[in-house]
């Protein structure tokens, strides 16, 4: 019985910890909502991606600050002898980041569109990356992962926000779909 309780409690703690780490500390939110209201302060939520830091940056004294929320995910790939480190940055700017009509991604990036059910259209620029296995695991194949940028298109309801994403291919759309604001937490 005790073992069962420990297992249940353990799984609850394990299940809760990514969610706790993925949300912004209320103490920190109090600081940042002075400059970006809760309804404009964007966050994501995906198991494994943990919020590591949030930063307000002023280039010039009287300017409105740029606000960055950064997540990190470490994925140990035991069969390859390496750990992949993925990062995700939500960049909030005082001005609109909406792309002009006819915008094209940088060379080597695959362009597509994404429509967030709540916030609206984004242009998505994605590129595949590879990581070699460690020399001690030379028989293992290459690891494939994706880096991407999501920029708001006209009509988007968070025009001041862009995202830089990094993860496995199957992480990108769930990450974008998980986009929400602090006021929704």
């Amino acid at each position: 019985m005790k073992l069962f309780q420990t297992l249940v409690l353990g799984s609850l703690v394990l299940g809760l910890s990514p969610a706790l780490a993925a949300s912004l500390d209320p103490q920190a939110a109090q600081i940042f909502t002075e400059f970006y209201p809760a309804s404009q302060l964007a966050l994501v939520s995906r198991p494994g991606y943990q919020l590591t830091n949030a930063q307000l940056f002023w280039g010039k004294k009287d300017q409105q600050p740029t606000f960055y929320v950064t997540y990190h995910r470490a994925v140990p790939m035991y069969d390859h002898g390496v750990t992949l480190h993925f990062s995700l940055v939500l960049r909030h700017e005082p001005r609109s980041q909406v792309v002009k009509p006819g915008y094209t991604c940088q060379k080597d990036y695959l362009q597509s569109e994404f429509n967030h059910p709540q916030f609206g259209p984004y242009v998505l620029c994605a590129k595949q990356l590879t990581t070699k296995p460690h020399a001690t695991h030379s028989n293992a194949g290459l690891l494939y992962h994706v880096t991407a940028r999501a920029l708001p298109k006209a009509g988007n309801r968070l025009p001041h926000l862009s995202l830089s994403l990094h993860g496995f291919k199957e992480d990108i759309l769930p990450l974008l779909n998980s986009l929400h604001t602090y006021s929704q937490e």
């Binding site: 500390d25 940042f32 943990q50 307000l56 002023w58």
Partner: protein, 181 residues
């Protein structure tokens, strides 16, 4: 002639006062209010070194340690006449709520040179210096990189400074450090 001399003196006084005025108004009222629970005005360390202008500031929430970091950046544009190249000398003062002071005996890394520096207002610092590594653009300019740590007992043991520039300016930067208020 007398008028010219008076004007010159007045200009010198104004110029010598400018950086201090800039330091006094360094933060906006909102920034001061947000920082107040984390850093008292006397704990915010700035530089009033002439030629160096504010090059940005950041409030960073460190989630794992649940602490707020305050980073102040200063820079000056420099023309290196021997190379005819323009570069930037830069330093960053990072304030933490945790103690950053190092204890003696303190050793820098094997590839670094230790230098002891003194701030009249704050106390002793140790700089771990190195010339920029091979292949970096700074190497040909002979720029120095330094990480500057307060020695335990320093009145600003909650800061650390990253510096890139000349050896002469490094000494002046540390001497110029003072409390914001």
């Amino acid at each position: 002639m007398r008028n010219l001399f008076s004007t010159f003196c007045l200009c010198l006084i104004v110029i010598s006062q400018l950086p201090l005025q800039a330091a006094e108004n360094f933060l906006s009222p909102v920034q001061e209010r947000v920082l107040a629970p984390y850093f008292k005005p006397e704990q915010i360390i700035v530089s009033n070194l002439a030629d160096y202008a504010s090059a940005g500031l950041a409030f960073t929430w460190d989630q794992p340690k649940r602490q707020l970091l305050l980073t102040l950046n200063f820079g000056k544009s420099v023309l290196l006449p021997s190379q005819g190249i323009k570069t930037v000398y830069h330093f960053e003062i990072k304030h933490s709520s945790l103690d950053q002071g190092v204890r003696e005996p303190f050793r820098c890394r094997p590839n670094e040179q230790r230098q002891e520096l003194q701030s009249p207002q704050l106390g002793r610092f140790i700089a771990c210096n190195r010339l920029n590594t091979q292949g970096s653009p700074g190497q040909s300019l002979g720029l120095l990189s330094a990480q500057i740590y307060p020695i335990l007992g320093n009145r600003a043991s909650h800061i650390q400074i990253s510096y890139i520039g000349s050896q002469a300016d490094l000494v002046q930067v540390v001497q110029s450090l003072r409390s914001y208020r």
